[in-house]
C-alpha cells in the first residue's frame, strides 16, 4: 500500500471511527483501526463488536492495500502533526506502516488485516430515511430514559417502531418512560420494531451533528443489525433481542390535575431544589395549587440537618390541588431536553405516574414515576 492524504482529513476521520474502537478489548485487534484503499478513497474502520464505524476520506492512491494499526497511537501521532500532506506506505515484510509528514516520520507495527472482524454489510431488509435534525432531536429526547444497568437488557435499548411514515422511539428504565414520534423522510410498508442499544444511538447523535442529508437506516432481514448510512460515514450496530414492555399501557390516559408552566422557570426551580435534594435521595416535592384558573407550583427540597429550599413557579392549573414528589434528576433530565416554551405536568395521585409533555406538541410524552415520601 502506498497512499497520501491530508493531515486534516485523516485526523478528522480517525476521530470519527475512534468512537468505535474497543476500550477493554477481548480481541486485541479491536484496539486497531483498519485503513484500506477503496476506489479513490481511503476507508477507515473500527469496531468494538457492538458497533462498527466506517468513514471515507479523499486520498491519492498509488498502490492499493489494507493495514490495521493501533488506533490510539496513530490518532495521537496524526493529531500532533502539522497540517499538510501525509504519505503512508506499508512495508509488506514487516507489516509496519510508515507515515511521513513534512519532516516527521513514524513507523507503526500493524496486525494482519485478515484477522480484523468483518464489518457487517447490510443491503436487504427494511430501509427508511430520516432528516438528521429530526433524528437527533428524537434520540436526545428519549435516549436518557434507557436503563444504565444491565439487569433487564432490553431496557438498555431504545425501542424503535416503524409504521407507515412514522418512527416511534421509546425508552424506559422503570422510573421514567420517554416516547417520541418522528416523521420519516421515506416510510415503510410493513410495521417493524427493533431495539437499538442506547449507547449506539448516543454515538449516532455525535455522527449526525454535521450531516445535512437524510440519514438512511437499514435493518437486516434477521433484525439483528442496523446500518445508519450518512455522507462518507456508516455506522452498524447490533440490535438487542427480546421483548420490549408494552409501554403504551404505562402512559396514563387521564389526570386529575394539569398544570401548564414555563419550561425554563420550571427547570430553574427544580435545579435550585435539587441542590438541597442532593444529600437525601434527590427528592423534590411539588405542590400544585390551583386558584381561579390561575395557580402556582411550589417546588421544595430539604436535607436533614443541612437546610431546605422552596421555589414557586406560576402555572395555569386545571383540576384539584395535588402533591407529588420526584427524583430531581429525572425531572431535570426531561426538562433539559425539551425545546418548547410551555410544558404541561399532569398528575393523578402522589403515588401514580406523572406525565410531562410539551404544550402544542403531540409528538412527545414523558412519564415519571414519583417517589413515595411522607408529606
Amino acid at each position: 500500500m502506498k497512499v497520501s492524504c491530508s493531515q486534516e482529513d485523516l485526523s478528522k476521520g480517525l476521530a470519527i471511527v475512534g468512537r468505535a474502537v474497543a476500550t477493554r478489548a477481548v480481541m486485541p485487534i479491536t484496539n486497531n483501526v483498519l485503513i484500506a484503499t477503496e476506489g479513490s478513497q481511503l476507508k477507515l474502520a473500527a469496531t468494538n463488536l457492538e458497533i462498527a464505524i466506517s468513514c471515507w476520506i479523499p486520498a491519492t492512491i498509488e498502490k492499493e492495500g489494507t493495514v490495521t494499526i493501533p488506533a490510539r497511537l496513530v490518532t495521537d501521532f496524526v493529531n500532533s502533526l502539522p497540517s499538510g500532506r501525509i504519505d503512508m506506505s506499508l512495508s509488506p515484510r514487516s507489516k509496519s506502516v510508515e507515515l511521513r509528514c513534512a519532516r516527521h516520520e513514524a513507523h507503526i507495527s500493524g496486525l494482519d488485516p485478515a484477522d480484523f472482524p468483518a464489518i457487517p454489510k447490510i443491503t436487504d431488509g427494511l430501509n427508511v430515511k430520516i432528516k438528521p435534525g429530526d433524528l437527533r432531536m428524537a434520540i436526545n429526547q428519549v435516549v436518557f430514559a434507557a436503563a444504565s444497568e444491565e439487569s433487564r437488557p432490553v431496557l438498555t435499548g431504545v425501542h424503535a417502531e416503524f409504521e407507515g411514515e412514522q418512527l416511534t422511539l421509546a425508552a424506559a428504565d422503570g422510573f421514567r418512560l420517554a416516547v417520541h414520534k418522528v416523521t420519516l423522510a421515506k416510510g415503510v410498508d410493513t410495521r417493524t420494531a427493533i431495539i437499538i442499544p442506547a449507547r449506539s444511538l448516543n454515538e449516532l447523535t455525535r455522527l449526525i451533528s454535521e450531516q445535512e442529508e437524510p440519514v438512511e437506516l437499514t435493518v437486516n432481514s434477521q433484525k439483528s443489525q442496523v446500518l445508519f448510512r450518512m455522507k462518507n460515514v456508516e455506522m452498524v450496530s447490533q440490535l438487542i433481542q427480546g421483548t420490549f414492555p408494552n409501554y403504551s399501557q404505562l402512559i396514563p390516559k387521564s389526570y386529575t390535575t394539569r398544570a401548564i408552566l414555563n419550561l425554563s422557570e420550571f427547570l430553574r426551580a427544580t435545579k435550585s431544589a435539587s441542590i438541597f435534594a442532593r444529600d437525601g435521595s434527590g427528592i423534590v416535592r411539588l405542590q400544585i395549587m390551583p386558584r381561579d384558573g390561575k395557580g402556582k407550583i411550589a417546588i421544595s427540597a430539604r436535607a436533614e440537618e443541612i437546610g431546605d429550599n422552596l421555589g414557586e413557579v406560576d402555572a395555569t392549573v386545571e383540576g384539584e390541588e395535588a402533591k407529588i414528589a420526584f427524583n430531581s434528576k429525572y425531572l431535570m433530565d426531561v426538562l433539559g431536553v425539551l425545546n418548547k416554551d410551555q410544558v404541561a405536568l399532569e398528575t393523578t395521585t402522589s403515588s401514580s405516574p406523572g406525565v410531562i409533555r410539551p404544550v402544542t406538541d403531540e409528538s412527545y410524552v414523558h412519564v415519571v414515576m414519583p417517589m413515595f415520601v411522607q408529606w
Partner: protein, 406 residues
C-alpha cells in the same frame, strides 16, 4: 464563667424497674439478663448482687456460679423504655439542654440557671426527689464544670448519691482516683497502664502527651485532657434521627440449623422493618452480623440500588448474605443480627413493579395489627419455627437476650 454540668444516672436501672413492679425483689440479689443456664450476659445487677462480684456484661453462667441464689429475670424492654421516657420527661422540665446517654443516663447543662433555680446542687436534689417520688427509683448525680468530671463524680456517688466538684478542683478531685474510673480507659487500657505502673488518674495525667498519642492513638490526646479534668465538649442531644437500626440475638445453644437461623433472621428483619417504617424512612444498606461459637464476629453488608423499607427486602438480602457465609464457613453460630443503615427518606416507585405498592400496604397493615395485638397476632410461615423454641408473652417472643432484642 465555669459551666455547671450535671450527670445523672439511674441506679441499677433495669433491676430497679423490676423492683418497683414487684416489691418482693427489693433488697435481694437480682439479675436482669435471662436464664442463668442460657447464654446471654448480665444486662443489669442489683447492688446486692454486685456485692458478689457480678457486673454488667458478665456471662450469665459465671454470674450464677458467683451468686447461685440470685434471682434471674428475663427483662422486658418495653417497661424500661416507658420508665426511661418518664425519666427524660422529668429532666426536660428543668432544662432543654439534655444529652441522653442510653435509657438511664443523661447530661444536663445548668449553666446560667442558678439565678432561676438557685445553686446547681439544690436543683440536682430536687431532680433526684422527683425521680424517687414518680418512678420509685434512686439516681446518682455528679456536678462539675465539664461532662467527663461530672460523669466520674456521679459514678463515685453511687448509689443514690450526689457529688459536686467545685470549679478549679477538677484535677485534684480526679488525681487520687483509680485510672479505670475515667470513662474510655477500658479493661485493655487499664492493663496497659498498670504495666507501666500507672494506677491513678493523677498518674495518667503526668504521662507526656506524645507518649499518650503513641500508645492510644487519637484517643490518647482526649484521655490526656480528660485526666487533667479538661473537657470542653458541649451538652447536646444527638441531632436528627438514628443513623441505623439493628436487632440481634444470642442463641441458647449454638446452631447451624439453616431453617432455624433463617426463621430467626426473618423475625429480626420484621422487627427492623417495623422500626424503619415507624420512622418513615427507607434503607440503602443492609448488614448481617454473625458471631460464631469461637466468638469470631463478622458483618457482611449489601448496598441496594433502590431504597426499600419492606421486611421482604431486608430479609432477602440478609438471607442471601447468610447463605453465602454458611457456605463459606460452616461453623456453629452463637449470635445473629440484622441491621439497616444509610437511611434515607422516600422510595422511588417503579412502573414495572406495580406489586411493590401492594407489598408496602401489606407491611403497613401488619404493622398496625402488631401495634395493637403484638407480634404473634399475625405471622408469616417463616417465623413459625420460633414457636417451638421460644415462649411468648403479651404477643411477643421472649428471646434469651431481651435487653438487646427490643
Amino acid at each position: 464563667m465555669a459551666r455547671r454540668i450535671l450527670h445523672i444516672d439511674l441506679d441499677a436501672f433495669f433491676v430497679s424497674v423490676e423492683q418497683v413492679l414487684d416489691p418482693a425483689l427489693r433488697g435481694k440479689p437480682v439479675v436482669v439478663g435471662g436464664d442463668p443456664r442460657g447464654r446471654g450476659v448480665v444486662a443489669c445487677a442489683s447492688y446486692e448482687a454486685r456485692a458478689y462480684g457480678l457486673k454488667s456484661g458478665m456471662p450469665l453462667g459465671k454470674a450464677h456460679r458467683l451468686c447461685p441464689h440470685a434471682i434471674f429475670l428475663g427483662g422486658n424492654f418495653h417497661r424500661y423504655s416507658d420508665a426511661s421516657e418518664r425519666f427524660m420527661a422529668i429532666l426536660g422540665e428543668f432544662t432543654p439542654d439534655i444529652e441522653p446517654l442510653g435509657l438511664e443516663e443523661a447530661y444536663l447543662d445548668l449553666t446560667g440557671f442558678e439565678s432561676i433555680y438557685g445553686p446547681a446542687k439544690e436543683t440536682a436534689l430536687r431532680i433526684k426527689q422527683r425521680i424517687k417520688d414518680e418512678l420509685g427509683i434512686t439516681a446518682s448525680v455528679g456536678i462539675a464544670s465539664s461532662k467527663v468530671v461530672a460523669k466520674v463524680a456521679s459514678g463515685l456517688s453511687k448509689p443514690d448519691g450526689l457529688i459536686e466538684v467545685p470549679p478549679g478542683q477538677e484535677r485534684a478531685f480526679l488525681a487520687p482516683l483509680p485510672v479505670d474510673k475515667l470513662p474510655g480507659v477500658g479493661a485493655k487500657g487499664e492493663m496497659a497502664l498498670k504495666k507501666m505502673g500507672v494506677k491513678t488518674i493523677g498518674g495518667l495525667s503526668r504521662l507526656p502527651l506524645s507518649f499518650m498519642k503513641q500508645t492510644f492513638g487519637i484517643w490518647g490526646e482526649v484521655l490526656h485532657r480528660h485526666a487533667h479534668g479538661i473537657d470542653n465538649s458541649k451538652v447536646e442531644a444527638a441531632s436528627g434521627p438514628p443513623k441505623s437500626i439493628s436487632r440481634s440475638t444470642t442463641f441458647a445453644q449454638d446452631t447451624l440449623d439453616r431453617a432455624f437461623l433463617k426463621a430467626m433472621l426473618h423475625y429480626l428483619s420484621e422487627r427492623v422493618g417495623a422500626e424503619l417504617r415507624a420512622q418513615g424512612r427507607q434503607t440503602r444498606c443492609i448488614t448481617l452480623k454473625l458471631r460464631y461459637t469461637d466468638f469470631e464476629t463478622i458483618t457482611r453488608s449489601h448496598t441496594l440500588r433502590q431504597a426499600a423499607d419492606t421486611d421482604r427486602a431486608i430479609y432477602d438480602v440478609g438471607c442471601k448474605l447468610l447463605d453465602r457465609e454458611i457456605d463459606h464457613r460452616a461453623v456453629l453460630v452463637r449470635l445473629i443480627g440484622i441491621g439497616v443503615s444509610n437511611l434515607v427518606e422516600g422510595r422511588q416507585l417503579n412502573m414495572f413493579e406495580p406489586w411493590a405498592e401492594g407489598l408496602e400496604q401489606l407491611n403497613q397493615a401488619i404493622d398496625r395489627i402488631r401495634d395493637k395485638y403484638g407480634f404473634t397476632a399475625i405471622e408469616s410461615g417463616s417465623t413459625l419455627p420460633l414457636r417451638e423454641v421460644f415462649p411468648t408473652e403479651d404477643g411477643r417472643y421472649l428471646l434469651k437476650t431481651p435487653s438487646l432484642s427490643r
